[in-house]
């Protein structure tokens, strides 16, 4: 579903944020992307979502090149940023309708999904309020709901559990599992190693822009804990 091939991203000033990075995320995968701060996770994600241009390599979404047909790719993706910058002066429901309009979600479907996800994340009663009055967690929930509205084939999330209360975190994980069972692929970055270890089917660890470990979670972790493995790799 998402194929990143030899991706290299150099920022002005010369820093190589991502260096010859390759990843394959298939339908049904829950792919955890792990790395310390500044390792290149967000840059990779932003390249994969078409927000950032990149110097070398290729990215394919569902077999389509993001460079050649970004619109077709973006129609298949939903992206949840780490710090949701959304229109503060809209109400929650207006924001959801805006997203649904852009992704051409039919009226009946959007109504049903907004209600369903709104109830699931316990946000329905606040949907009439201005987004500026929302807490960080509420904004995060709203962006998650908006990401699910068009039933994406590929869900890309940057630190999705930050700011969520325990119940919402649990709900999100459940939803992600259900989506994968329906054939969706999920690619997300996280610092919560415990979540990655227990929840992801695949993981990749990135250090200084390069992937140093990539594969099935069970194969990688083996007898150790992911935390031990991760810290050990960072020290090498």
């Amino acid at each position: 579903m998402l194929s990143i091939q030899h991706l290299t991203k150099v920022y002005k000033g010369g820093k190589k944020a991502v260096d010859d990075l390759s990843l394959e995320i298939n339908a049904g995968d829950i792919f955890g992307f792990i790395g310390h701060n500044g390792a290149g996770k967000t840059t990779t994600i932003k390249c994969a979502t078409g927000i950032l241009d990149f110097s070398d390599g290729e990215i394919f979404v569902d077999g389509i090149s993001i460079k050649e047909d970004p619109i077709a790719c973006k129609k298949r993706i939903a992206y949840v940023p780490d710090n949701p910058e959304i229109y503060e002066n809209l109400t929650g429901i207006q924001y959801l309708n805006f997203i649904a309009d852009i992704y051409e979600v039919p009226k009946e479907v959007r109504n049903q999904r907004m209600k369903e996800y709104g109830d699931t994340f316990e946000l329905t009663s606040d949907m009439g309020s201005q987004i500026s009055s929302y807490s960080h967690g509420m904004k995060q929930k709203l962006v998650l709901i908006s990401a699910l509205l068009h039933d994406p084939k590929l869900l890309i999330l940057d630190e999705p559990f930050v700011g969520l209360d325990p119940k919402a975190s649990f709900t999100l994980k459940e939803m992600m599992r259900q989506m994968c069972q329906r054939g969706c692929a999920i690619f997300f970055s996280t610092h919560v190693l415990e979540v990655a270890e227990k929840f992801c089917t695949n993981i990749a660890i990135i250090k200084a822009g390069k992937v140093i470990v990539n594969g099935k979670t069970q194969d990688i972790v083996g007898d150790k804990s992911l935390e031990e493995l991760f810290l050990g790799l960072l020290e090498e």
Binding site: G13, G14, K15, A17, D53, I71, E88, Y95, D101
Partner: protein, 553 residues
């Protein structure tokens, strides 16, 4: 197109907080209970404004009844220049620093849709001003000439398109500046310098092209018309000429060409700029990042230096902050340029008049008044506390006396106005051959006004802090503190004018007379400013400190 309209609707609703107009919140319900009254008040203000512009312009229509084309030309050129400068100022904010870039780029929008939406949004913002100012002027001409409904439809339609070219060209130039600036590490600073220099260049160029000196020397309106001064200027900007011809002589062909030029320019703009738009945005969003830093022995500096350096960096890193607070000093720079220009043309004749020696104190007074006007309206301190926003906890928890924090903020307000004040004082001294005591009075008043407004701005901001903002604009441009501070600046101008009128023109005390009394009044006013500064400083150290402590970080 549906995606374009969905985005435009959402963006306008968000930018202009349109939800608040139709909100059903308790606060808004309370207000809407007073709805009819509020609506009548708003309509009354609008009607007064329209009537004011209409009446003012009607006078010019009467004066120039035989040469109405001049007025159409003034409308077209005036609107074009204002829009052009507005765009150079606003394009960086609306087209290259918009906050929803990541969101929009992750969605299935074509870059051209986003570009179109941002340009149309800029256009809509400008149109409000266009119709509020230039609409009544066109109506005034129509009623004076007794035109039929067709004139009003045509003129208001053509007016809609007048800002088109200036916005497109302004965006291209703004984009070029941003593109060049993005190559530098200090992107914002370089872009600001470009924009300021460009606006100055326009002013100097506009003075040079049409023989403004000739215009200034002519007082007879008929002579101005006869010398075809305006036709010359209009020919330099064909859209203004076409607009004028279309409405002055009901020339349908000119009107059609005018519309055609604008629409074609729009199409070409979209075609050529879409790629550039995306590239510039990407370049601007990539922070300069190097990974080759090797740790060096760090220098030690005092708490004040550290605070000041931090404040200075924060100030110059915000494009909007600098633009908003530097507009007054820009007027000062423009004035300085005009003085130099006058020095080559009108001034030599003036200096040779026998009365000039006696006029020197007046000139010093005028210079001081202009300094007060241009340098005191928007002090940086009026937003300095608010701008800290959610990071204010850091300042509050520092083991530093509050006075030192004050001074680090106050000194930032000196960075631009003080050199301009010194430059204007020296330029006045040299150009007008002023005595030392005149120049010193100008300098003293200028510097004291800067200190005073720095103090008042800070005190007002401590009173009305806006810490919980979502965009820096809310703190820098639209906060109550900034508004109040602007009024205080105007108040100072009024106070100086009123004082001069009472003590010198009317001679209420000391028997001062205009010829001999201006200079003593200036020194007296300077003393008054010293007292005010001392008073506000005491307030800052006492009540201000309590306000500082009470701000929730």
């Amino acid at each position: 197109m549906s995606m374009f309209f969905a985005l435009l609707k959402t963006d306008l609703r968000n930018t202009y907080s349109l939800n608040r107009l139709f909100s059903r919140s308790k606060r808004m319900k309370k207000l809407s209970a007073k709805g009819p009254l509020a609506a009548i008040f708003a309509l009354a203000v609008l009607a007064i404004w329209v009537f004011y512009i209409y009446t003012l312009f009607s006078t010019y229509v009467e004066l120039l009844s035989n040469a109405i084309f001049v007025l159409f030309g003034v409308i077209a050129i005036g609107e074009s220049v204002t829009t052009f400068i507005y765009t150079i100022r606003m394009a960086p904010v609306h087209l290259f620093s918009f906050k929803d870039y990541d969101l929009l780029m992750s969605m299935p929008f074509k870059p051209v849709t986003v570009l179109l939406e941002k340009v149309v949004k800029l256009y809509v913002g400008n149109l409000l001003l266009t119709y509020a100012v230039f609409g009544p002027m066109l109506v005034a001409i129509g009623t004076s000439r007794g035109d039929g409904p067709l004139y009003y439809v045509a003129s208001l339609l053509l007016l809609f398109f007048v800002p088109m070219l200036p916005i497109l060209v302004g965006t291209l130039i703004g984009g070029l500046f941003m593109w060049i600036s993005s190559k530098f590490r200090k992107t914002n600073l370089v872009n600001m310098i470009f924009s300021f220099l460009f606006i100055l260049l326009i002013m100097v160029f506009s003075m040079g092209i049409g023989g403004l000196s000739g215009f200034a020397a002519e007082s007879d309106m008929e002579a101005i018309v006869e010398m075809d001064f305006f036709w010359d200027i209009l020919e330099k900007y064909p859209p203004a000429l076409l607009f004028t011809k279309a409405l002055d002589s009901y020339d349908v062909l000119s009107g059609a060409i005018f519309l055609g030029i604008n629409l074609a320019a729009f199409a070409i703009f979209v075609l050529i700029f879409t790629r550039g738009f995306n590239k510039i945005n990407l370049a601007l969003r990539e922070n300069q990042s190097k990974s080759n830093y090797t740790f060096r022995r760090q220098e030690v500096s005092g708490a004040f230096s550290a605070l000041f350096r931090n404040e200075r960096r924060r100030y110059f890193s915000s494009f909007v902050y600098v633009y908003n607070t530097a507009s007054g000093p820009i007027v000062g720079i423009i004035f300085l340029v005009m003085m130099v220009f006058l020095g080559n043309t009108v001034l030599p004749e003036l200096l040779d008049t026998f009365l000039f020696d006696e006029l020197k104190p007046f000139i010093a007074g005028i210079m001081a008044a202009l300094l007060i006007f241009s340098l005191t309206i928007a002090p940086t301190t009026a937003a300095t506390i608010s701008y800290e926003g959610k990071a204010f906890w850091l300042t509050k928890t520092m083991p530093v006396p509050v006075e030192r924090i004050y001074w680090s903020k106050i000194c930032v307000n000196f960075l631009i106005p003080v050199p301009i004040t010194v430059a204007i004082s020296i330029a006045s001294h040299l150009l007008f051959r002023l005595e030392l005591q005149h120049t010193l009075a100008i300098l003293l008043i200028g510097l004291l006004c800067i200190i005073l407004t720095s103090f008042t701005g800070l005190y007002i901001n401590l009173h009305f802090p806006k810490m919980n903002w979502s965009t820096p604009n809310q703190a820098i441009k639209n906060s109550l503190s900034v508004f109040v501070s602007v009024f205080v600046g105007f108040g100072l101008v009024l106070l100086a004018g009123l004082g001069y009128f009472l003590f010198v023109v009317k001679g209420f005390i000391f028997g001062l007379e205009p010829f001999t009394g201006t200079l003593p009044f200036m020194y007296g006013f300077a003393l008054f400013l010293v007292v005010l500064c001392a008073g506000i400083w005491i307030l800052l150290r006492t009540n201000g400190k309590k306000l500082f402590d009470a701000i929730e970080a």
